[in-house]
Amino acid sequence: MRAEDPNAEFVSQRHELFGFIYALVRDVHDAQDLVQEVWLRFAAAMESGVRIEKPAAWCRGTAKKLILHHWRDKANDKVLVDSELLELVELAFSEQEQEQEIWHLRRQALAHCVQALPEKSRRLLALRYECGDPVAKIAEALHQSLGSVMMALSRLRRVLQKCVQDKLAADLTGNIEYP
């Protein structure tokens, strides 16, 4: 399904774009900046009358260039991504565009699962994926070892993914109602 308003389509798919960018820059703040930059370019292209058939693909193409610039600017940092990996990830995103309804269900399920977590776990997730703090900084703030924080985050991700899968499966069979 493609929305008639490209801007609306961009907004509805921005989590996918964020996921794509975040996978390749691994920094929440940088990913947010790049999403913002893609959005600005997308809006400018729309205003100038450019006809964009597939906004998601267009945005990923723009994001690819920005990600490459991002890594060039951070030449002194440890390089996590090369152009080949970038192309492969882009391939993964381009061949499986999901319907908005599925995304909506997944988002609802995830929100429910997050809410069900203990407060301490939710805050740990927030530090990492909302505030975008590096794991080392979180470990320092919590007076815990780096390894234990990484382990806790990994465990939380698995718990959430399993929770979402379970809820989606239950939703499809009509057994669960979201608040």
Binding site: R14, H15, E16, L17, F18, G19, F20, Y22, A23, R26, V28, A31, K78, L80, D82, E84, L85, L88, V89, L91, A92, F93, E95, Q96, W103, R106, R107, L110, A111, V114, Q115, E119, K120, R122, R123, L124, L125, A126, L127, Y129, E130, C131, D133, V135, K137, A141, L142, H143, M150, L153, S154, R157, R158, L160, Q161, V164
Partner: protein, 463 residues
């Protein structure tokens, strides 16, 4: 081999190694795992979105402290300074910038209020020291002199220093000690021992350079002079300009010396002003392209000029020359007035090329070259087996066994000189580091090199 889950964890933690990356690419090339990876990536997007929407409490801004998720965790109590010190700079940019600004301000204050240097050492021999705040430091070229510093020159060395922001320069002989200072009344030098030769540019009105020695004071408003002090008293010779000279020890009226004048403040005697005698006129200049005998110093290329108390030039080791990449020449000119009639033999002593010219009377036009040291081959080093400068009468133990009259041309033909008659002479020399010239003569009716031509038979000729 990592599992896909382990690989995704490494990717998320930013610890993806090159090997991990290769493996990840392998997973991405397989359609089923590619979809799984995509799901994983999209999960982060969803999670970010869900957290941003579902946890408004984490983004609220309390009045006292920025709200981050950190606030929700119990913290180890710490003082402000403890937290300030413990916090990494990159995590607290405001603190880091404050700290660097503080450092900048402190650095500026130290720079602004530092003791301003009065001058700097332009040339120094081995063992020359600067005494600063009671401690001794090596006086290397470029070392600065602050108010109250002393320069101490040991035996067998010399030194020179310049005043900051002006062309005044001061040369110090061996065994000299001088203290520098500057007040609102002008520059002050205190010579406690040794010999100071000074070339002083015109000073500001009412701010003369004042040179004090144990028994005398010289006020200088721009001139060139030599002030020496010893146990017998203080002696001043003025080369250029005028100097007011006062015997402070005996409270006698001051006298003004002009170019060519000398005066001595001897213990128990009044100051006597008289023309500089017992000396020859010494000039050092940047070499021209003509032959040594035809090259004359002119105003623009003259580097230094002064009176010499004997016909040799090693006294100073040329402390006024700092750039030895250029070629220099020197001349010693004046009149010889022998005390005894007889036949004298002259020796021209130097390492590098030199020439000795003597006139049969006082006229430079009648001069003839009577002795010379030949030039070494172009580019050849001054080896130990080369010629050395012998100065009879001085301790030259180091030269024992070394050649000093290697070339027959160094020895002149016998010269008949009449007592009391003045004969013009000039000695010319190509200067190289470590070299000097000496004009040596024999006793009457002898041909053995007896002594360097002494100051008592010399009188200067100035051009």
């Amino acid at each position: 081999m990592k599992t896909l889950r382990e690989l995704m964890d490494s990717w998320e933690d930013g610890s993806l190694s090159p090997e991990d990356r290769r493996q990840l690419k392998g997973w991405l090339r397989q359609p089923d795992t590619r979809a799984q990876i995509r799901e994983e990536c999209c999960f982060y997007g969803l999670l970010h979105e869900v957290l941003s929407r579902a946890e408004p409490v984490l983004r609220a801004q309390p009045e006292t402290e920025p709200a981050t998720a950190h606030n929700q965790f119990p913290r180890r109590p710490a003082s402000f300074f403890g937290r300030w010190l413990a916090a990494p700079f990159h995590a607290r940019p405001a603190l880091a910038w404050s700290f660097f600004a503080l450092l900048l301000v402190a650095g500026f204050c130290i720079w602004y209020f530092r003791p301003a240097p009065l001058g700097y050492i332009s040339q120094s021999g081995e063992g020359v020291l600067i005494t600063h705040a009671g401690k001794n430091y090596p006086a290397r070229p470029g070392a600065t002199l602050a108010a109250g510093d002393s320069v101490v020159v040991p035996q067998f060395a010399s030194a020179a220093f310049r005043w900051k922001s002006e062309a005044s320069r001061f040369c110090l002989s061996p065994e000299t000690e001088i203290r520098v200072n500057q007040t609102r009344d002008g520059k002050q030098l205190n010579l406690s021992n040794g010999v100071l030769k000074a070339v002083v540019v015109r000073q500001a009105p009412r701010q003369p350079l004042v040179v004090t020695s144990p028994g005398a004071v010289a006020k200088v408003l721009g001139t060139q002079f030599t002030l020496s002090t010893s146990s017998k008293g203080d002696r001043l010779e003025v080369v250029e300009g005028a100097v007011e000279f006062a015997d402070v020890q005996h409270q006698r009226p001051s006298v003004t010396l002009h170019a060519g004048d000398s005066a001595a403040a001897l213990r128990g005697l009044p100051i006597q002003v008289e023309p500089i005698g017992g000396a020859a006129w010494w000039q050092v200049w940047v070499a021209g392209t003509s032959a040594l005998a035809d090259d004359l110093p002119v105003g623009s290329n003259t580097l230094y000029q002064d009176y010499l108390g004997a016909a040799y030039t090693l006294v100073w080791s040329y402390p006024f020359i700092s750039d030895w990449s250029r070629r220099y020449r020197e001349s010693v000119r004046g009149f010889i007035t022998p005390e005894q009639t007889g036949v004298y033999t002259f020796y021209m002593m130097s390492q590098e090329a030199s020439e000795l010219w003597l006139s049969r009377d006082t006229s430079p036009a009648n001069k003839l070259r009577i002795a010379y040291t030949p030039a070494r081959a172009s580019g050849a080093p001054l080896a130990e087996t080369w010629n050395w400068v012998l100065r009879p009468g001085l301790d030259q133990t180091a030269l024992r066994g070394k050649p000093w009259n290697k070339f027959p041309a160094q020895k002149s033909a016998p010269q008949k000189l009449i007592a009391g008659q003045r004969y013009y002479f000039e000695a010319l020399h190509e200067l190289v580091p470590g070299d000097c010239l000496a004009v040596v003569w024999s006793r009457p009716d002898d041909d053995f090199p007896a002594e360097t031509v002494p100051g008592r038979v010399l009188s200067p000729l100035r051009h």
